[in-house]
């Protein structure tokens, strides 16, 4: 996200009560917090409540924020605590599972597991994507939708790790703290999550080769039209 100096400037503006700075922060993180809140509940309304309570807790805590972590890390940590509170309050509702912090029993499917190759190393070697410009993958609306869908289909804890580590760019240690995961468990979940997204992209991109020649050139055009 922002570097340290930008964050200090933002905190100073917030401390001076600049509403525009706060509004911009809300607008920047709101969708991200909502996506993360959805890992704690299947209810969209409850996820919105969790995010709202998170922001209110941010406002209450901002004056005491000491910058020992990044602002983003701090806010996502608050969300986890709010989510647990809300989830326990709503515990009688069966559609609000809190997935716990272990992340076990989440199968990796057909990909590698860390430390264990599949029987017969690379019995099916990955086929190169042959992208002229790899950046096109994440500048294409269609490809981003594929990725978003793959993330949404992950088991909760795996999704939490992928959102914090890769989408939000948090440090491994911070993600472990926030989620109460061991470093090893976090690594495994992150690997499985990335593997799942890679697989989804692979299916999408390999499918494209049948349709058009210069792969992402055509995909980008479609993305812009969409």
């Amino acid at each position: 996200m922002e570097n340290h100096r930008e964050e200090e400037a933002l905190l100073a503006r917030l401390g001076r009560g600049e509403e525009a700075a706060f509004a911009a922060l809300v607008d920047k993180l709101h969708g991200r917090l909502y996506a993360f809140a959805r890992t704690f509940t299947t209810s969209p309304a409850l996820a919105e409540d969790i995010v709202q309570e998170t922001w209110l807790a941010v406002i209450r805590g901002l004056a005491g924020f000491e910058g020992r972590s990044s602002l983003r890390t701090w806010i996502f940590g608050i969300l986890v605590r709010r989510a647990k509170t809300v989830a326990s309050r709503e515990a009688r509702r069966p559609e609000v599972p809190y997935p716990g912090a272990n992340g076990h029993a989440e199968n990796s499917g057909e990909e590698w597991d860390l430390g264990y190759g599949r029987r017969g190393l690379w019995e099916r070697a990955p086929v190169p994507w042959g992208l002229e410009d790899p950046a096109a993958v994440f500048q294409t609306k269609e490809a981003l939708e594929i990725i978003d869908q793959a993330v949404r289909e992950m088991p909760e804890t795996q999704r939490q790790v992928v959102l914090l580590r890769d989408v939000e760019g948090l440090e491994a240690a911070d993600a472990c703290n926030i989620l109460g995961l061991s470093e090893t468990n976090q690594r495994v979940l992150l690997h499985r999550g990335r593997a799942r997204v890679r697989r989804a992209l692979d299916r999408y991109l390999q499918g494209q080769t049948d349709l058009a020649g210069p792969l992402m050139g055509s995909a980008r055009t479609r993305g812009e039209r969409a």
Binding site: G17, E19, G31, L33, Y34, W55, I59, P126, V197
Partner: protein, 80 residues
């Protein structure tokens, strides 16, 4: 380094956080193993793509207004 060991550290490598003690071995393996090289390239792209994801939430103007009001109460009435 073999494929299993290379895959084991590939996530760290994709984040440019590979432990220096295995950096040379990893590079060597990637150069001589096309499937791992392909997988590594795809993992790097996958991670970059995830970094570019920008999840959206339903529009909630009333809630947003409530937050800004709360912020104003907590930090004074100053406008910008």
């Amino acid at each position: 380094m073999n494929c299993v060991e290379a895959i084991d550290v590939m996530g760290d490598a994709a984040e440019d956080r590979l432990d220096p003690s295995c950096s040379a071995g990893f590079q060597e393996h990637i150069e001589e193993c096309p499937p791992c090289a392909t997988y590594y390239e795809q993992l790097r792209i996958t991670r970059l793509a995830l970094r570019n994801l920008d999840p959206a939430a339903p529009e909630a103007p009333a809630r947003r207004a409530e937050l800004i009001t709360s912020f104003r109460r907590a930090f004074g009435e100053r406008k910008n």
